[in-house]
Amino acid sequence: MPTLDSEAIVTGLLAAAQLTVSPQEKATFVKDYPLMRSNADALYLAELEFVEPAVTFDPTVYYPA
Protein backbone atom coordinates (compact mmCIF):
# COMPACT_ATOMS: atom_id res chain seq x y z
CA MET A 1 0.00 0.00 0.00
CA PRO A 2 1.21 3.52 -0.67
CA THR A 3 2.34 5.52 2.32
CA LEU A 4 -0.26 8.03 3.42
CA ASP A 5 0.67 11.68 3.41
CA SER A 6 -1.21 12.27 6.63
CA GLU A 7 -0.32 15.92 6.82
CA ALA A 8 -1.81 16.65 3.41
CA ILE A 9 -4.85 14.45 3.94
CA VAL A 10 -5.69 15.88 7.36
CA THR A 11 -5.16 19.41 6.07
CA GLY A 12 -7.60 18.73 3.27
CA LEU A 13 -10.17 16.98 5.42
CA LEU A 14 -10.14 19.75 8.02
CA ALA A 15 -10.55 22.35 5.31
CA ALA A 16 -13.43 20.44 3.74
CA ALA A 17 -15.06 20.15 7.15
CA GLN A 18 -14.52 23.88 7.77
CA LEU A 19 -12.81 23.15 11.07
CA THR A 20 -10.25 25.59 12.43
CA VAL A 21 -8.05 23.76 14.89
CA SER A 22 -4.90 24.62 16.80
CA PRO A 23 -1.49 23.46 15.56
CA GLN A 24 -1.30 21.03 18.50
CA GLU A 25 -4.70 19.58 17.67
CA LYS A 26 -3.74 19.22 14.03
CA ALA A 27 -0.52 17.48 14.99
CA THR A 28 -2.51 14.92 16.99
CA PHE A 29 -4.85 14.35 14.05
CA VAL A 30 -1.89 13.86 11.73
CA LYS A 31 -0.36 11.35 14.17
CA ASP A 32 -3.62 9.44 14.66
CA TYR A 33 -4.94 9.48 11.11
CA PRO A 34 -3.01 6.49 9.70
CA LEU A 35 -4.33 4.23 12.49
CA MET A 36 -7.87 5.57 12.09
CA ARG A 37 -7.65 4.93 8.37
CA SER A 38 -6.27 1.42 8.77
CA ASN A 39 -8.94 0.56 11.35
CA ALA A 40 -11.65 1.71 8.93
CA ASP A 41 -9.99 -0.09 6.01
CA ALA A 42 -9.91 -3.31 8.04
CA LEU A 43 -13.71 -3.39 7.91
CA TYR A 44 -13.72 -3.84 4.12
CA LEU A 45 -13.68 -7.60 4.54
CA ALA A 46 -14.19 -9.91 1.59
CA GLU A 47 -16.70 -11.84 3.71
CA LEU A 48 -19.01 -8.83 3.66
CA GLU A 49 -19.56 -8.89 -0.09
CA PHE A 50 -23.18 -10.00 0.19
CA VAL A 51 -24.01 -8.57 3.62
CA GLU A 52 -26.71 -5.93 3.99
CA PRO A 53 -25.91 -3.05 6.35
CA ALA A 54 -27.50 -2.89 9.78
CA VAL A 55 -29.44 0.19 8.87
CA THR A 56 -32.96 0.04 7.53
CA PHE A 57 -35.34 2.42 5.92
CA ASP A 58 -39.08 1.94 6.20
CA PRO A 59 -41.08 4.26 3.92
CA THR A 60 -44.33 3.39 5.66
CA VAL A 61 -43.45 5.13 8.94
CA TYR A 62 -44.07 8.47 7.22
CA TYR A 63 -47.65 7.47 6.42
CA PRO A 64 -49.34 6.83 9.75
CA ALA A 65 -52.57 4.89 9.50
Partner: protein, 487 residues
Protein backbone atom coordinates in the same frame (compact mmCIF):
# COMPACT_ATOMS: atom_id res chain seq x y z
CA UNK B 1 -29.58 -11.72 50.72
CA UNK B 2 -26.83 -13.81 52.24
CA UNK B 3 -23.16 -13.03 51.83
CA UNK B 4 -20.08 -14.94 52.89
CA UNK B 5 -18.00 -11.78 52.59
CA UNK B 6 -15.28 -13.50 50.58
CA UNK B 7 -12.54 -11.01 49.65
CA UNK B 8 -9.19 -11.25 47.96
CA UNK B 9 -7.01 -8.37 49.04
CA UNK B 10 -5.87 -6.64 52.16
CA UNK B 11 -6.93 -3.34 50.65
CA UNK B 12 -10.46 -4.60 50.33
CA UNK B 13 -10.29 -5.99 53.85
CA UNK B 14 -9.62 -2.47 55.02
CA UNK B 15 -12.70 -1.08 53.33
CA UNK B 16 -15.34 -0.17 55.85
CA UNK B 17 -19.05 -0.79 55.94
CA UNK B 18 -21.67 1.72 56.90
CA UNK B 19 -25.39 1.85 57.19
CA UNK B 20 -25.11 5.10 55.28
CA UNK B 21 -24.34 3.04 52.18
CA UNK B 22 -27.70 1.35 51.91
CA UNK B 23 -28.80 -0.57 48.88
CA UNK B 24 -32.10 0.47 47.36
CA UNK B 25 -33.59 -2.79 48.59
CA UNK B 26 -32.38 -2.18 52.14
CA UNK B 27 -33.59 1.41 52.11
CA UNK B 28 -36.97 0.36 50.73
CA UNK B 29 -37.34 -2.08 53.61
CA UNK B 30 -36.25 0.53 56.14
CA UNK B 31 -38.72 3.05 54.77
CA UNK B 32 -41.50 0.54 55.19
CA UNK B 33 -40.61 -0.68 58.68
CA UNK B 34 -40.40 2.90 59.88
CA UNK B 35 -36.73 2.79 60.87
CA UNK B 36 -35.97 5.64 58.49
CA UNK B 37 -37.90 8.32 56.64
CA UNK B 38 -37.25 9.47 53.12
CA UNK B 39 -36.71 13.00 54.40
CA UNK B 40 -34.00 11.84 56.82
CA UNK B 41 -32.35 9.67 54.18
CA UNK B 42 -32.52 12.40 51.56
CA UNK B 43 -31.29 15.13 53.90
CA UNK B 44 -28.29 12.98 54.82
CA UNK B 45 -27.46 12.30 51.18
CA UNK B 46 -27.96 15.89 50.04
CA UNK B 47 -25.73 17.09 52.87
CA UNK B 48 -23.03 14.57 52.01
CA UNK B 49 -23.28 15.26 48.27
CA UNK B 50 -22.95 18.98 48.88
CA UNK B 51 -19.97 18.53 51.18
CA UNK B 52 -18.13 16.13 48.89
CA UNK B 53 -18.91 17.70 45.54
CA UNK B 54 -15.80 19.93 45.58
CA UNK B 55 -13.64 16.82 46.03
CA UNK B 56 -15.54 14.38 43.82
CA UNK B 57 -17.43 16.45 41.25
CA UNK B 58 -20.35 14.04 41.16
CA UNK B 59 -23.07 16.60 40.48
CA UNK B 60 -23.49 19.52 38.11
CA UNK B 61 -26.60 20.58 40.05
CA UNK B 62 -27.80 19.41 43.43
CA UNK B 63 -31.55 19.97 43.65
CA UNK B 64 -31.69 19.77 47.43
CA UNK B 65 -34.94 21.64 48.07
CA UNK B 66 -36.83 19.81 45.35
CA UNK B 67 -35.40 16.50 46.57
CA UNK B 68 -36.57 17.18 50.12
CA UNK B 69 -40.02 18.10 48.81
CA UNK B 70 -40.17 14.82 46.89
CA UNK B 71 -38.99 12.97 49.98
CA UNK B 72 -41.63 14.63 52.12
CA UNK B 73 -44.29 13.67 49.60
CA UNK B 74 -43.03 10.09 49.69
CA UNK B 75 -43.24 10.04 53.48
CA UNK B 76 -46.77 11.47 53.38
CA UNK B 77 -47.73 8.77 50.91
CA UNK B 78 -46.28 6.05 53.16
CA UNK B 79 -48.17 7.49 56.13
CA UNK B 80 -51.39 7.45 54.10
CA UNK B 81 -50.83 3.85 53.09
CA UNK B 82 -50.01 4.70 49.50
CA UNK B 83 -47.12 2.58 48.28
CA UNK B 84 -46.00 3.11 44.69
CA UNK B 85 -43.30 0.45 44.83
CA UNK B 86 -39.69 -0.05 45.91
CA UNK B 87 -38.41 3.23 44.47
CA UNK B 88 -40.74 5.38 46.56
CA UNK B 89 -38.64 7.75 48.64
CA UNK B 90 -35.34 6.51 47.15
CA UNK B 91 -32.72 9.20 46.32
CA UNK B 92 -31.38 8.87 42.77
CA UNK B 93 -28.92 10.72 40.50
CA UNK B 94 -29.95 11.71 36.97
CA UNK B 95 -27.19 12.04 34.39
CA UNK B 96 -27.04 15.58 33.07
CA UNK B 97 -27.83 14.72 29.47
CA UNK B 98 -31.32 13.55 30.45
CA UNK B 99 -34.16 16.06 30.71
CA UNK B 100 -35.59 16.58 34.17
CA UNK B 101 -38.18 19.11 35.31
CA UNK B 102 -36.83 21.70 37.70
CA UNK B 103 -33.21 21.50 36.61
CA UNK B 104 -31.54 22.54 33.40
CA UNK B 105 -29.60 20.12 31.26
CA UNK B 106 -26.05 21.09 30.35
CA UNK B 107 -24.47 17.93 28.92
CA UNK B 108 -21.49 19.44 30.77
CA UNK B 109 -21.04 21.75 27.81
CA UNK B 110 -21.16 25.41 26.97
CA UNK B 111 -22.48 24.42 23.59
CA UNK B 112 -25.84 22.93 24.52
CA UNK B 113 -28.69 25.44 24.34
CA UNK B 114 -29.82 26.02 27.94
CA UNK B 115 -33.41 25.80 26.71
CA UNK B 116 -32.90 22.18 25.66
CA UNK B 117 -35.40 20.01 27.51
CA UNK B 118 -36.32 22.80 29.89
CA UNK B 119 -39.36 22.10 32.02
CA UNK B 120 -39.80 18.54 30.82
CA UNK B 121 -39.07 15.08 32.10
CA UNK B 122 -37.66 12.50 29.74
CA UNK B 123 -40.06 9.53 29.71
CA UNK B 124 -37.63 7.53 31.83
CA UNK B 125 -37.44 10.32 34.41
CA UNK B 126 -41.21 10.70 34.39
CA UNK B 127 -41.55 6.99 35.16
CA UNK B 128 -39.13 7.25 38.08
CA UNK B 129 -40.94 10.35 39.34
CA UNK B 130 -44.31 8.59 39.16
CA UNK B 131 -42.80 5.74 41.15
CA UNK B 132 -42.07 8.16 43.97
CA UNK B 133 -38.30 8.48 43.50
CA UNK B 134 -36.35 11.42 44.84
CA UNK B 135 -33.91 13.21 42.54
CA UNK B 136 -30.77 14.43 44.32
CA UNK B 137 -29.63 16.28 41.24
CA UNK B 138 -28.12 16.20 37.78
CA UNK B 139 -24.94 14.15 37.78
CA UNK B 140 -21.76 14.93 35.92
CA UNK B 141 -21.25 13.54 32.45
CA UNK B 142 -18.35 13.62 30.08
CA UNK B 143 -19.14 16.50 27.73
CA UNK B 144 -21.93 15.31 25.44
CA UNK B 145 -21.26 11.81 26.82
CA UNK B 146 -17.98 11.64 24.94
CA UNK B 147 -15.23 14.00 26.02
CA UNK B 148 -12.87 14.17 28.90
CA UNK B 149 -13.02 16.79 31.66
CA UNK B 150 -11.76 20.27 30.83
CA UNK B 151 -11.58 22.31 34.03
CA UNK B 152 -11.45 25.58 32.09
CA UNK B 153 -15.07 25.22 30.95
CA UNK B 154 -16.56 25.78 34.39
CA UNK B 155 -18.15 22.41 35.03
CA UNK B 156 -17.27 20.08 37.91
CA UNK B 157 -14.37 17.75 37.21
CA UNK B 158 -15.28 14.23 38.36
CA UNK B 159 -12.85 12.18 40.47
CA UNK B 160 -12.72 8.52 41.34
CA UNK B 161 -13.68 8.18 45.02
CA UNK B 162 -11.30 5.23 45.48
CA UNK B 163 -8.36 7.40 44.41
CA UNK B 164 -9.07 10.95 43.36
CA UNK B 165 -6.01 10.98 41.11
CA UNK B 166 -7.67 8.35 38.95
CA UNK B 167 -10.48 8.55 36.44
CA UNK B 168 -14.05 7.71 37.46
CA UNK B 169 -14.45 6.78 33.78
CA UNK B 170 -17.14 8.16 31.56
CA UNK B 171 -19.38 9.17 30.40
CA UNK B 172 -21.83 8.52 33.28
CA UNK B 173 -19.10 9.61 35.69
CA UNK B 174 -21.27 11.45 38.18
CA UNK B 175 -23.83 8.71 38.70
CA UNK B 176 -20.97 6.23 39.06
CA UNK B 177 -19.28 8.36 41.70
CA UNK B 178 -22.56 9.09 43.48
CA UNK B 179 -23.48 5.43 43.82
CA UNK B 180 -19.98 4.45 44.96
CA UNK B 181 -19.65 7.27 47.48
CA UNK B 182 -23.18 7.08 48.87
CA UNK B 183 -24.32 10.34 47.28
CA UNK B 184 -27.33 8.54 45.77
CA UNK B 185 -28.62 5.02 46.12
CA UNK B 186 -28.83 4.55 42.37
CA UNK B 187 -29.36 6.49 39.21
CA UNK B 188 -29.39 6.83 35.49
CA UNK B 189 -26.53 6.57 33.06
CA UNK B 190 -26.40 6.32 29.31
CA UNK B 191 -24.32 3.83 27.36
CA UNK B 192 -23.21 4.16 23.74
CA UNK B 193 -19.88 2.35 23.91
CA UNK B 194 -19.60 1.55 27.62
CA UNK B 195 -20.63 4.70 29.46
CA UNK B 196 -22.71 2.92 32.10
CA UNK B 197 -20.40 -0.06 32.47
CA UNK B 198 -17.13 1.88 32.53
CA UNK B 199 -18.02 4.01 35.56
CA UNK B 200 -19.59 0.99 37.28
CA UNK B 201 -16.35 -0.89 36.62
CA UNK B 202 -13.87 1.59 38.06
CA UNK B 203 -16.09 2.92 40.86
CA UNK B 204 -16.90 -0.56 42.18
CA UNK B 205 -20.63 -1.10 41.70
CA UNK B 206 -23.18 -2.48 39.23
CA UNK B 207 -24.25 -0.96 35.92
CA UNK B 208 -26.53 -2.38 33.25
CA UNK B 209 -26.44 -1.55 29.57
CA UNK B 210 -29.91 -2.54 28.36
CA UNK B 211 -31.02 -4.01 25.07
CA UNK B 212 -31.29 -1.28 22.42
CA UNK B 213 -34.88 -0.07 22.62
CA UNK B 214 -35.59 -1.56 26.06
CA UNK B 215 -35.76 1.90 27.70
CA UNK B 216 -37.07 4.86 25.66
CA UNK B 217 -34.22 7.27 25.03
CA UNK B 218 -36.22 10.30 24.05
CA UNK B 219 -35.41 13.25 26.26
CA UNK B 220 -31.71 12.42 26.13
CA UNK B 221 -29.13 14.50 24.28
CA UNK B 222 -28.03 12.03 21.61
CA UNK B 223 -24.49 10.81 21.16
CA UNK B 224 -24.95 8.11 18.51
CA UNK B 225 -28.52 7.46 17.45
CA UNK B 226 -28.17 3.76 16.65
CA UNK B 227 -26.11 2.88 19.72
CA UNK B 228 -27.46 4.98 22.62
CA UNK B 229 -29.23 3.42 25.59
CA UNK B 230 -30.25 4.48 29.09
CA UNK B 231 -29.31 2.10 31.86
CA UNK B 232 -29.63 1.75 35.63
CA UNK B 233 -26.63 2.12 37.91
CA UNK B 234 -26.74 0.99 41.53
CA UNK B 235 -24.80 -0.89 44.16
CA UNK B 236 -26.30 -4.30 43.34
CA UNK B 237 -27.80 -6.19 40.44
CA UNK B 238 -30.98 -6.53 42.48
CA UNK B 239 -31.19 -2.74 42.76
CA UNK B 240 -30.67 -2.43 39.00
CA UNK B 241 -33.60 -4.82 38.55
CA UNK B 242 -35.77 -2.63 40.77
CA UNK B 243 -34.85 0.41 38.69
CA UNK B 244 -35.24 -1.29 35.32
CA UNK B 245 -38.73 -2.60 35.98
CA UNK B 246 -39.81 1.03 36.31
CA UNK B 247 -37.63 2.44 33.53
CA UNK B 248 -38.35 -0.10 30.79
CA UNK B 249 -41.21 -0.22 28.33
CA UNK B 250 -42.47 1.24 25.11
CA UNK B 251 -42.92 4.94 24.54
CA UNK B 252 -43.99 6.28 21.16
CA UNK B 253 -41.72 9.31 21.49
CA UNK B 254 -38.70 7.11 20.76
CA UNK B 255 -38.80 5.57 17.28
CA UNK B 256 -36.43 2.85 18.48
CA UNK B 257 -38.40 1.96 21.61
CA UNK B 258 -39.31 -1.71 21.67
CA UNK B 259 -42.86 -2.78 22.37
CA UNK B 260 -41.77 -5.80 24.39
CA UNK B 261 -43.29 -6.90 27.68
CA UNK B 262 -41.44 -5.76 30.79
CA UNK B 263 -40.91 -8.58 33.29
CA UNK B 264 -40.90 -8.05 37.02
CA UNK B 265 -37.13 -8.42 36.96
CA UNK B 266 -36.55 -8.41 40.71
CA UNK B 267 -38.87 -11.38 41.21
CA UNK B 268 -36.81 -13.45 38.77
CA UNK B 269 -33.56 -13.08 40.74
CA UNK B 270 -33.70 -16.24 42.84
CA UNK B 271 -30.04 -17.25 42.93
CA UNK B 272 -30.69 -20.40 40.91
CA UNK B 273 -28.25 -20.67 38.02
CA UNK B 274 -28.11 -24.45 37.91
CA UNK B 275 -27.44 -25.57 34.34
CA UNK B 276 -26.53 -22.09 33.10
CA UNK B 277 -24.14 -22.25 30.13
CA UNK B 278 -21.36 -19.66 30.14
CA UNK B 279 -19.19 -18.89 27.12
CA UNK B 280 -15.76 -17.36 27.69
CA UNK B 281 -14.52 -15.73 24.48
CA UNK B 282 -10.78 -16.15 24.97
CA UNK B 283 -9.18 -14.44 21.94
CA UNK B 284 -9.05 -10.66 22.44
CA UNK B 285 -11.20 -10.64 25.60
CA UNK B 286 -8.90 -12.77 27.79
CA UNK B 287 -5.57 -12.99 25.96
CA UNK B 288 -4.90 -9.41 24.84
CA UNK B 289 -1.43 -8.20 25.74
CA UNK B 290 -2.93 -5.02 27.23
CA UNK B 291 -5.25 -6.97 29.55
CA UNK B 292 -3.90 -6.76 33.10
CA UNK B 293 -3.56 -10.17 34.79
CA UNK B 294 -5.34 -9.02 37.96
CA UNK B 295 -8.39 -8.15 35.86
CA UNK B 296 -8.38 -11.48 34.03
CA UNK B 297 -7.80 -13.54 37.18
CA UNK B 298 -10.64 -11.85 39.06
CA UNK B 299 -13.07 -12.55 36.21
CA UNK B 300 -12.04 -16.19 36.01
CA UNK B 301 -12.35 -16.49 39.78
CA UNK B 302 -15.90 -15.17 39.53
CA UNK B 303 -16.68 -17.64 36.78
CA UNK B 304 -15.42 -20.46 38.99
CA UNK B 305 -17.78 -19.34 41.72
CA UNK B 306 -20.65 -19.47 39.25
CA UNK B 307 -19.56 -22.95 38.20
CA UNK B 308 -19.61 -23.91 41.87
CA UNK B 309 -23.28 -22.90 41.89
CA UNK B 310 -24.17 -25.24 39.04
CA UNK B 311 -23.23 -23.32 35.90
CA UNK B 312 -20.92 -24.71 33.24
CA UNK B 313 -18.31 -22.66 31.42
CA UNK B 314 -16.49 -23.27 28.18
CA UNK B 315 -13.75 -21.40 26.40
CA UNK B 316 -14.78 -20.29 22.92
CA UNK B 317 -13.94 -17.67 20.30
CA UNK B 318 -15.78 -14.77 18.73
CA UNK B 319 -14.19 -13.94 15.39
CA UNK B 320 -13.65 -10.30 14.42
CA UNK B 321 -13.62 -9.01 18.00
CA UNK B 322 -10.89 -6.46 17.30
CA UNK B 323 -12.73 -5.18 14.22
CA UNK B 324 -15.95 -4.94 16.24
CA UNK B 325 -14.33 -2.47 18.62
CA UNK B 326 -13.28 -0.33 15.67
CA UNK B 327 -16.69 -0.58 13.99
CA UNK B 328 -18.35 0.68 17.17
CA UNK B 329 -15.95 3.61 17.32
CA UNK B 330 -16.53 4.42 13.67
CA UNK B 331 -20.31 4.35 13.83
CA UNK B 332 -20.29 6.28 17.10
CA UNK B 333 -17.86 8.83 15.67
CA UNK B 334 -19.80 9.32 12.45
CA UNK B 335 -23.21 9.67 14.13
CA UNK B 336 -21.86 12.01 16.81
CA UNK B 337 -20.11 14.14 14.20
CA UNK B 338 -23.34 14.48 12.24
CA UNK B 339 -25.09 15.80 15.36
CA UNK B 340 -22.28 18.22 16.26
CA UNK B 341 -20.99 19.27 12.84
CA UNK B 342 -22.47 22.75 12.69
CA UNK B 343 -21.44 23.62 16.23
CA UNK B 344 -17.95 22.28 15.63
CA UNK B 345 -17.64 24.63 12.66
CA UNK B 346 -19.00 27.66 14.47
CA UNK B 347 -18.16 27.10 18.13
CA UNK B 348 -14.98 24.99 18.17
CA UNK B 349 -13.50 26.78 21.18
CA UNK B 350 -16.68 26.36 23.23
CA UNK B 351 -16.19 22.60 23.31
CA UNK B 352 -13.79 21.13 25.85
CA UNK B 353 -10.22 20.73 24.70
CA UNK B 354 -10.47 16.93 24.80
CA UNK B 355 -14.02 16.71 23.46
CA UNK B 356 -13.65 18.60 20.20
CA UNK B 357 -10.82 16.48 18.73
CA UNK B 358 -12.70 13.31 19.56
CA UNK B 359 -15.84 14.60 17.86
CA UNK B 360 -13.90 15.98 14.90
CA UNK B 361 -12.50 12.56 14.07
CA UNK B 362 -15.90 11.81 12.60
CA UNK B 363 -14.99 14.14 9.74
CA UNK B 364 -12.16 11.81 8.75
CA UNK B 365 -14.42 8.90 7.86
CA UNK B 366 -16.15 8.59 4.52
CA UNK B 367 -19.81 7.84 3.92
CA UNK B 368 -18.70 4.48 2.55
CA UNK B 369 -16.84 3.78 5.80
CA UNK B 370 -20.06 4.29 7.72
CA UNK B 371 -22.02 2.03 5.38
CA UNK B 372 -19.30 -0.60 5.55
CA UNK B 373 -19.18 -0.47 9.35
CA UNK B 374 -22.93 -1.01 9.28
CA UNK B 375 -22.43 -4.06 7.05
CA UNK B 376 -19.81 -5.31 9.49
CA UNK B 377 -22.33 -4.72 12.27
CA UNK B 378 -24.71 -7.16 10.59
CA UNK B 379 -22.06 -9.84 10.31
CA UNK B 380 -20.79 -9.34 13.87
CA UNK B 381 -24.33 -9.54 15.23
CA UNK B 382 -24.85 -12.78 13.32
CA UNK B 383 -21.59 -14.22 14.69
CA UNK B 384 -22.60 -13.37 18.24
CA UNK B 385 -26.07 -14.83 17.67
CA UNK B 386 -24.43 -18.07 16.50
CA UNK B 387 -22.48 -18.20 19.76
CA UNK B 388 -25.66 -17.71 21.74
CA UNK B 389 -27.05 -20.90 20.21
CA UNK B 390 -24.69 -22.68 22.62
CA UNK B 391 -24.55 -20.36 25.64
CA UNK B 392 -26.94 -18.50 27.90
CA UNK B 393 -24.46 -15.76 28.70
CA UNK B 394 -21.00 -14.66 27.68
CA UNK B 395 -18.62 -13.36 30.31
CA UNK B 396 -15.66 -11.03 29.74
CA UNK B 397 -13.72 -8.46 31.72
CA UNK B 398 -15.47 -5.08 31.77
CA UNK B 399 -12.25 -3.28 30.92
CA UNK B 400 -8.64 -4.28 30.34
CA UNK B 401 -7.35 -2.38 33.37
CA UNK B 402 -8.55 -0.79 36.60
CA UNK B 403 -8.98 2.98 36.82
CA UNK B 404 -6.19 4.85 35.07
CA UNK B 405 -4.36 7.83 36.50
CA UNK B 406 -5.90 10.95 34.98
CA UNK B 407 -2.48 12.38 34.19
CA UNK B 408 -1.75 9.37 31.97
CA UNK B 409 -4.95 9.60 29.92
CA UNK B 410 -4.92 10.62 26.28
CA UNK B 411 -7.84 10.48 23.79
CA UNK B 412 -5.52 8.93 21.21
CA UNK B 413 -5.23 5.88 23.48
CA UNK B 414 -8.76 4.92 22.54
CA UNK B 415 -7.53 4.03 19.07
CA UNK B 416 -5.03 1.47 20.30
CA UNK B 417 -6.38 0.16 23.59
CA UNK B 418 -8.70 -2.84 23.60
CA UNK B 419 -12.22 -2.17 24.80
CA UNK B 420 -14.69 -4.82 25.89
CA UNK B 421 -17.93 -2.86 26.01
CA UNK B 422 -18.71 -1.29 22.62
CA UNK B 423 -19.07 -4.75 21.09
CA UNK B 424 -22.44 -5.09 22.81
CA UNK B 425 -23.70 -1.68 21.75
CA UNK B 426 -22.94 -2.81 18.22
CA UNK B 427 -25.12 -5.90 18.73
CA UNK B 428 -27.65 -4.08 20.92
CA UNK B 429 -27.41 -6.78 23.58
CA UNK B 430 -27.82 -6.37 27.35
CA UNK B 431 -24.60 -6.44 29.38
CA UNK B 432 -24.07 -5.85 33.07
CA UNK B 433 -20.81 -4.85 34.73
CA UNK B 434 -20.39 -6.05 38.31
CA UNK B 435 -17.53 -5.88 40.79
CA UNK B 436 -15.23 -8.91 40.74
CA UNK B 437 -12.67 -7.98 43.37
CA UNK B 438 -9.94 -5.47 44.05
CA UNK B 439 -6.39 -4.98 42.90
CA UNK B 440 -3.60 -5.37 45.43
CA UNK B 441 -3.54 -1.58 45.60
CA UNK B 442 -7.25 -1.38 46.43
CA UNK B 443 -8.86 -0.45 43.11
CA UNK B 444 -12.14 -2.07 42.03
CA UNK B 445 -12.12 -4.80 39.39
CA UNK B 446 -15.10 -5.75 37.26
CA UNK B 447 -16.56 -8.47 35.07
CA UNK B 448 -19.17 -8.19 32.34
CA UNK B 449 -22.08 -10.57 31.72
CA UNK B 450 -23.71 -10.39 28.29
CA UNK B 451 -27.06 -11.89 27.31
CA UNK B 452 -29.42 -12.36 24.40
CA UNK B 453 -31.79 -9.58 23.26
CA UNK B 454 -34.16 -8.55 26.08
CA UNK B 455 -32.56 -11.13 28.41
CA UNK B 456 -31.90 -8.51 31.07
CA UNK B 457 -33.45 -10.90 33.57
CA UNK B 458 -30.82 -13.52 32.75
CA UNK B 459 -27.77 -11.28 33.06
CA UNK B 460 -29.13 -9.70 36.25
CA UNK B 461 -29.92 -13.15 37.64
CA UNK B 462 -26.35 -14.32 37.08
CA UNK B 463 -24.97 -11.10 38.55
CA UNK B 464 -27.28 -11.37 41.55
CA UNK B 465 -26.31 -15.01 42.11
CA UNK B 466 -22.67 -13.98 42.36
CA UNK B 467 -23.51 -11.04 44.59
CA UNK B 468 -25.27 -13.39 47.00
CA UNK B 469 -21.93 -15.06 47.75
CA UNK B 470 -19.57 -12.08 47.46
CA UNK B 471 -19.64 -8.59 48.87
CA UNK B 472 -17.53 -6.64 46.39
CA UNK B 473 -20.52 -4.54 45.44
CA UNK B 474 -21.20 -3.57 49.05
CA UNK B 475 -17.75 -2.20 49.77
CA UNK B 476 -17.37 1.52 49.46
CA UNK B 477 -14.52 3.97 49.12
CA UNK B 478 -13.12 5.73 52.19
CA UNK B 479 -15.00 8.94 51.53
CA UNK B 480 -14.67 10.02 55.16
CA UNK B 481 -11.12 11.10 54.37
CA UNK B 482 -12.39 13.27 51.53
CA UNK B 483 -14.33 15.55 53.86
CA UNK B 484 -11.00 17.00 54.90
CA UNK B 485 -10.09 17.49 51.24
CA UNK B 486 -13.41 19.14 50.55
CA UNK B 487 -12.98 21.48 53.50
Amino acid sequence: MSTDLSMNSSAADAASHSHKFLTIADAAAALRDGSITSVALTADIVEKATALNPALGAYVTITGDAALAQAAAADVAFAAGNDFGPLQGIPLAIKDIIAMKGAGTTANSRVLDPAWGAGTDAPVVARLRAAGSVFVGKSTTSEFALGMPDASKGFPVPHNPWDVERTPAGSSSGTGIAVAAGLALGGLGTDTGGSVRGPACVNGHTGLKVTFGRVPKSGVVPLAFSLDSIGPMARSAYDCALLLEVMAGYDASDPNAADVEVPKYSELLNGDIDGLKIGLPIPYFFDHDQLEPEVRDAVLSGVQQLVGMGATSKEMALPYAAEAKDANMLILGAEAYAYHRNNLVNRWEDYGNLTRPTLARGAFYTAADYAQASRFRSMWSAEVAKAFEHYDVLITPSAPSPAQLVKDMDPSQRLVQPSYTGHWNLTGLPAVAIPSGFTASGLPLSMQIIGKPFAEATVLKVADALQRVTNWHLLHPPVETLYATAA
